[in-house]
């Protein structure tokens, strides 16, 4: 199963009606949030990809294709059990059973005290990943470093055209040279 990654991208202008329609019409049907007073917008993605980085890049490209400029990435919390299972590339039934089997153990994730809930309880993605890493898959990738790096890349792109010697500066991030 290909994982489905959830995140939000903040754009630098409120999307127009036509831009919102173009985004909602995409195969994964992102949700478009508009904040006219703040002169901004947020696009909620649930994107299928083998890596979070790949999902972020295709989402940014989709925004640019409709004329929006992504400026920031935010994690999308909370999640339901089926959503968490999809992010882990597992079936909802399997993950629900696994989680139920660990209920009551010290440190087991608990549903969030939301003001409003639907039929599915909501959990913190961070709580779930920590638990999964501890009990199931120690190699589960950590989202925050990827989201932070994506945010920095988006900032760099905004100023890149005015930077003299950008390739020289980019040489600083060659990972093999890091101490």
């Amino acid at each position: 199963m290909t994982p489905v990654f959830q995140f939000r991208m903040v754009v630098d202008t409120p999307p127009t009606e036509a831009q919102a329609v173009a985004l909602v019409a995409l195969p994964d049907s992102p949700a478009v949030e508009i904040a006219p007073e703040e002169q901004t917008g947020v696009v909620w993605f649930d994107r299928s990809a083998s890596l979070l980085a790949e999902a972020l890049v295709t989402a940014a490209r989709d925004l640019e294709r409709v004329g929006l400029r992504p400026i920031r990435v935010e994690p999308r919390d909370p999640v339901t059990i089926p959503e968490a299972a999809a992010r882990l590339g597992r079936s909802a039934e399997w993950f629900r059973d696994w989680l139920a089997g660990t209920r009551g153990e010290p440190g087991a994730p608990k549903p969030l005290p939301m003001r409003v809930t639907g039929p599915e309880k909501l959990f913190s993605w961070d709580d779930l990943t920590e638990w999964v890493r501890e009990r199931l898959d120690p190699g589960l990738p950590d989202d925050p470093p990827v989201l932070n790096a994506a945010g920095l890349v988006l900032r760099l792109r905004r100023c890149a055209s005015g930077v003299d010697g950008l390739p020289v500066l980019l040489g600083l991030i060659a990972i093999e040279q890091l101490p």
């Binding site: 919102a20 329609v21 909602v24 019409a25 049907s29 949700a31 478009v32 949030e33 508009i34 904040a35 006219p36 007073e37 703040e38 909620w44 649930d46 999308r76 909370p78 999640v79 339901t80 089926p82 959503e83 939301m114 003001r115 409003v116 809930t117 639907g118 599915e120 909501l122």
Partner: protein, 87 residues
Amino acid sequence: MNATDSHPSPDIAAALDACRKAGLTTVRGGDGPIWGWVECATGARRISVPARTDDPGRQRTRLLTFLDSHVTHRVRKRPAPRVRSGR
């Protein structure tokens, strides 16, 4: 625009009902891929509601998360005029 039209997906319709009960406004859109919008009480933020979806559960969670974040947004009430005691 007609805010009382119900959404064809029962999952999304239930989330929209929860939004209305909590004081948010639903605004019906056109005939395209956007069914309408859910707007917070101050009108500062609104989120799209798709006309069709392969995964209504995800859309429901988005709407409920939006609701949970914005349910506390209230239109500011004007302070009541002070009544002087006359003394």
